[in-house]
């Protein structure tokens, strides 16, 4: 059975159709990439899945149960959360406290229980060196990592990552890709929105391409990036040899 299933998902903002009848499924332990030009509806797609926006049509279901009418915190506790493209940490809290908040409320732990678990997560994501710093005074790369730490803290098994790897140097990018592969090994479902094709091709098993709110292609990365429609709508040139 699929972990996450979208059926005919539609979202409009006034006259703008941000999503038009988008359907797809994600299975256990899968890493799915979502690509498409700016304004294609990728972030809207994520926001509808996690409950920030309510869809105007269609349905989202998690492990066979519809979640379309739930609020973000309810969806988070079921097992789906996202990291945002524009990072919003809890500003006056330290890095560790940020992660502890996710542990306390996502998994319903006490303050005491959450502390050692936060240490583990920060260790895994290699941000323990800044754990006592306020979240405002760490680098953007670390802040993106903190977004991911918070997502993992909630205990969700479906993690949506909205451009979490953007703006990183090659070494950081490699490390980020390694983390995604490790998450897959741990049995997490990861859906990533990304513009860096190197990362997409490196970690995703399947790709979905959105353009003007419509799914125009779906398949294994090699096939998708040879698709003429995808090249015309997004890639602009061949990124993989024919």
């Amino acid at each position: 059975m699929s972990v996450l299933a979208l059926r005919d998902l539609t979202k409009t903002f006034g006259a703008l159709k941000a999503l038009r009848h988008v359907s797809f499924e994600v299975g256990e332990g899968e890493v799915l990439g979502v690509i498409g030009p700016n304004g294609a509806g990728k972030t809207t797609l994520f926001n509808v899945i996690v409950g920030i926006y309510r869809p105007d049509g269609g349905d989202v279901s998690y492990r066979g149960k519809s979640i379309r009418n739930l609020l973000p915190h309810e969806i988070c506790r079921r097992g789906i959360t996202k990291t945002s493209q524009i990072v919003h940490p809890f500003l006056t809290m330290s890095v560790k406290e940020n992660v502890m908040v996710a542990l306390m409320f996502g998994r319903n732990l006490t303050l005491k229980e959450s502390e050692p678990r936060a240490e583990e997560i920060m260790e895994f994501l290699n941000i323990r060196d800044v754990k006592d710093m306020p979240s405002t005074s760490i680098s953007l790369q670390k802040r993106r990592r903190l977004e991911l730490a918070r997502a993992l803290g909630t205990g969700a098994d479906v993690i949506l990552m909205d451009e979490n790897l953007a703006g990183l140097n090659p070494k950081e990018l490699e490390e980020g890709m390694g983390i995604i592969r490790e998450l897959k090994k741990q049995g997490k479902v990861v859906i990533i929105v990304e513009h860096i094709m190197q990362a997409i091709m490196g970690v995703c098993e399947r790709l979905i391409v959105l353009s003007y709110g419509e799914k125009i292609a779906e398949g294994i990365p090699m096939d998708v990036c040879r698709d003429e429609r995808v090249i015309r709508a997004y890639l602009g040139e061949r990124v993989c040899s024919p």
Partner: protein
């Protein structure tokens, strides 16, 4: 942290023993006023300082507490302490209802909605009797309460209730509940994504604040022995809570306590002598604090410690 706690305890014990020194009534009244404002500013801070939802209608719950206690004591003959408890609960229940709708609003819209609530509450009490041709709230005539206790009674009542409010804020600041409130203040969407039921926490803390303010209002009614809508629903009370919390440091445990102490004393010492210039000075002081010390007087203290 321990220093703050010991200091707080020392101040509390000193204040507890103060009446033994046999001071005049004036000092009891001034200190009682300070305790009242410590309680009110701390209670206001619990919602507005911690979640960032600036409540401009806090006086509504103060008025409800005043009237509930006055009516329960004079009409139903219920003793003072049960009356203030019931008054607190009533104002909390009202806040659960009001908060359900207002807590969906953000920023200035929340402020305007709460201000409107407090003004509406005042008008209802003012016009109810005339509109329905009954005698219940007594409209602008107000209600007179029995005189039964001396100044020390109110001194201790205010001291203990205000201390309980501060201890409550202190405890919440350090537990899970406090983290939820701070997360809401700093990034409400991220808080939702981290699994926090933001609406439940916002409405609960709003109701808790209302309970505290309602109880303090009840004590106020019995203390003054005469209340009227224009007095106990006066928007200036809300403004005072805001100013005291901002001055001392909103979102901190002891900021509003310091703010209430300093500004009540300043009002007593300077305000009674220079009635008009004092308000001008207060405005300037506030301007300086907001611009240069966004974290209030507390911010000044912790900043000094950092520099050392």
């Amino acid at each position: 942290m321990r220093i703050k706690l010991l200091l707080g305890l020392a101040v509390f014990i000193a204040l507890l023993l103060f009446p033994l020194a046999g001071a005049e009534g004036y000092y009891y009244r001034t200190l009682s006023t300070i305790f009242l404002w410590v309680g009110l500013a701390s209670a206001w801070n619990l919602t507005s300082g911690f979640t960032g939802y600036i409540d401009f209608g806090a006086v509504g719950y103060f008025g409800v507490g005043n009237y509930a206690t006055a009516l329960l004591m004079t009409r139903a003959g219920i003793p003072f302490f049960p009356s203030i408890m019931i008054g607190g609960i009533l104002s909390g229940l009202l806040a659960l209802f009001i908060g359900r709708y207002t807590m969906k609003l953000r920023g200035a819209y929340f402020g305007i909605a709460t201000l409107a609530f407090a003004e509406a509450a005042k008008q209802i009490i003012l016009e109810f009797d005339r509109t329905f041709n009954v005698r219940f709230f007594e409209g602008s005539q107000g209600i007179t309460l029995p005189i039964a206790h001396d100044e020390t009674f109110f001194y201790y009542t205010f001291l203990i209730v205000a201390s309980l409010v501060v201890v409550l804020v202190f405890t919440l600041d350090r537990n899970k509940f406090g983290y939820a409130l701070k997360a809401i203040k700093e990034a409400e969407d991220s808080a939702e994504l981290a699994g926090i039921d933001t609406r439940r926490y916002k409405v609960s803390v709003y109701a808790l604040t209302a309970v505290l303010i309602g109880v303090l209002g009840g004590i106020n009614a019995y203390w003054l022995t005469y209340i009227s809508p224009l007095d106990v629903f006066n928007v200036i009370h809300t403004i005072n809570m805001i100013i005291m919390a901002l001055f001392g440091g909103s979102g901190t445990v002891f900021g509003p306590v310091i703010g209430a102490f300093v500004l009540t004393i300043a009002n007593e010492v300077i305000g009674s002598r220079l009635l008009y210039t004092w308000l001008l000075m207060l405005g300037m002081i506030l301007l300086v604090v907001v611009v240069f010390l966004p974290r209030g007087m507390i911010g000044l203290i912790s900043l000094k410690r950092l520099k050392r």
